[in-house]
């Protein structure tokens, strides 16, 4: 199993790198490139969320706070100074990480449902602050100049940026999973008191996970706002996105980034198909029911279920 996982890591990394190199040349249609962009975005968000929410079991319902902060950061810098998000999105990650550092210390003392509610409200508060912020005039939407000359070239630039972010996210997650730091996070999820008596500096470990997770969220948000064209608060600070992130990770299984990747793929495909052919509210209904059923009957997610099958077979 371990060997399989290691090979899986290399395989996924290679696949993404190959795709990044080939995309400009193979002439895919724009809407397919943009679909792959969303798929990679959802995957990075779920994998990044999972670093705290999955490994340590601190389920945040407000991951979009970081995404939105990063998004507005790059958008405002682009509009005001003409700085390209290609560079500023890295700064957006740093800003989101700093924000995680500031709110993390008081927030992470709070556990279980209280932490989930707290993160939900923090995201709502950040979005309300951005909405009422003087000068940026968020309520009427911010026009973000597209990255390329044509829609097609824009989509390729966005795709490359998101692909690199996904690579970074997966590598970070893999390193954490294989490290002592990751072990500390898993120990916190199992039993925080025991972890603490076993010499895990729980405060520090949790905070580090929150900062990494938030930073990755900001990085991705910085690219996402460029994709939006016109940036609205509701679109980037959406509770729907927060719920989808949680669903993707839990559906796939929160023990590793592989689960989050599987979950993100399934959810994104279902969302696209249902939104296209029926209605977006129908896909939301199905996600809601899925979340309910998976939490109750499949707490280990799809990858956990496969693992159980695999174990019982041998």
């Amino acid at each position: 199993m371990n060997l399989l996982k290691k090979n899986g890591f290399l395989f996924v990394i290679l696949a993404i790198v190959l795709l990044l190199i080939l995309i400009p040349f193979i002439g895919l249609k724009t809407h397919i490139i943009l679909f792959l962009f969303i798929l990679m975005m959802n995957s990075s968000l779920a994998i990044g969320w999972n670093i705290l929410g999955g490994y340590a079991g601190y389920v945040s319902f407000g991951h979009v706070a970081f995404v939105g902060l990063g998004g507005y950061f790059t958008a405002v810098l682009l509009v005001e100074f003409g700085w390209s998000p290609i560079y500023t999105t890295v700064l957006a990650g740093v800003v989101a990480a700093l924000f995680a550092l500031i709110i993390g210390y008081p927030s992470l003392r709070i556990r279980g449902p209280y932490f989930s509610v707290l993160t939900l409200v923090i995201a709502l508060a950040v979005s309300a602050i951005v909405l009422n912020f003087p000068k940026i005039d968020a309520s009427s939407g911010i026009f973000v100049t597209p990255p390329g000359d044509s829609i097609h070239s824009s989509s390729i630039i966005l795709f490359e940026m998101m692909g690199i972010s996904l690579l970074i996210t997966i590598i970070v997650a893999q390193l954490i999973e294989k490290s002592k730091f990751g072990l500390g996070l898993f120990a916190i999820r199992e039993d925080e008191e025991v972890a603490s008596t076993q010499g895990v500096n729980t405060t520090k470990v949790k905070l580090a996970a929150f900062v990494i997770s938030g930073g990755l969220g900001g990085l991705i948000g910085g690219i996402f706002s460029w994709y939006q064209g016109v940036l609205y608060v509701d679109a980037i600070f959406s509770v729907k996105l927060s719920v989808m992130i949680v669903l993707m990770a839990i559906l796939g299984g929160t023990n590793s980034w592989v689960g989050a990747l599987i979950g993100a793929t399934i959810v994104t495909v279902i969302d696209r198909v249902l939104t296209l052919y029926i209605d977006s509210s129908v896909s939301q209904i199905i996600f809601g029911v899925l979340l309910l059923v998976v939490i109750l009957y499949l707490p280990g997610g799809i990858s956990g279920w496969f693992k159980d099958r695999f174990k019982s077979a041998t």
Partner: protein
């Protein structure tokens, strides 16, 4: 200015009663059977929709529609307890947490089901008394505020009477304080959780109708209502009925009096920041009895 303030205080108190009614079932469910029902607010929205369509499609006043809504919602509550809550109790190590995440799923599903069926237009309840207004002394109060305030007060009175003066109600409170002890003294725990859940959802239905007399609504508004519920529940202490009443009045007054000086969009922000503050400062046993 003084008159404006007086007006804000009166409508704040009336609104506070409605908020208290909205939160009482949520707080009770959390406190007594350990289930955090995130879908409480979305069920209230369903109540608001039923009241709205009863007048618009059948010309039946929402107050009359309550004769159907209350038993229907009681039944929904009992069914929730028999199905989802039962599975949570059976399968989960951490009931509070599992209930919260899974019922978040239910809330999202119900919200979008309503968006799909009822469409996402903003609805405004229009009955004669909602549109009229009354002058008491120097204060103008809208009919909707008065009717919903009285409705909330009566409903809260019933919940209080039930919990303090009936055998089943007393066992709900006993169960809340000491589940094992209550079970030992012969309290029927299955019945307690069933009745608690039924009454909780019934109050959500009434609260939804009451709120529709105060504000325009659509399916997505439950998120705002949910924040209000959390604020009041945590402020008043989980499971504490008197706390819910006081918390509701405080929040109602804050919203209403705040609106005299602060633009409406900032009031939401203040609510969010208040809730963050309560959550961060809260220590186990500090606020909840």
């Amino acid at each position: 200015m003084l008159n404006e303030l007086l007006q804000a205080i009166v409508s704040g108190l009336l609104l506070g009663l409605v908020y208290a009614l909205l939160s009482v079932g949520f707080s009770l469910t959390w406190g007594s059977i350990g289930i955090i029902n995130i879908s409480h607010a979305v069920l209230a929205v369903l109540g608001a929709f039923l009241g709205y369509f009863s007048i618009r499609s059948f010309s039946i006043d929402p107050l009359m529609a309550l004769i159907v809504i209350i038993p229907l919602f009681y039944f929904i509550g009992v069914s929730l307890n028999k199905t989802i809550y039962a599975v949570i109790r059976k399968r989960s190590r951490n009931i509070m947490f599992t209930s919260m995440v899974s019922l978040f799923g239910l809330a999202v599903a119900l919200e979008n089901l309503m968006r799909w069926i009822f469409k996402s237009d903003t609805r405004v309840l229009k009955t004669d008394y909602v549109l009229s207004s009354m002058k008491i002394g120097s204060v103008y109060i809208s009919g909707g505020q008065i009717v919903s305030g009285i409705l909330a007060l009566i409903s809260l009175g019933f919940v209080f009477y039930f919990l303090h003066f009936t055998y089943t109600g007393k066992s709900v409170r006993a169960f809340e304080q000491e589940p094992e002890g209550a079970a030992l003294t012969g309290v029927n725990t299955t019945k307690v959780s069933s009745v608690t859940s039924g009454i909780a959802v019934a109050t959500a239905g009434i609260a939804g109708v009451s709120l529709s007399m105060n504000f325009p609504f659509d399916a997505t508004i439950h998120m705002d209502w949910l924040i209000t519920i959390f604020l009041i529940t945590i402020l008043g202490g989980v499971g504490n009925i008197i706390g819910v009443l006081i918390g509701g009045l405080i929040i109602g007054l804050t919203v209403s009096v705040g609106a005299v000086w602060i633009p409406y969009s900032l009031i939401n922000l203040i609510m969010f920041l208040l809730l963050i503050l309560f959550l961060v400062l809260r220590r186990k046993g500090d606020l909840d009895t």
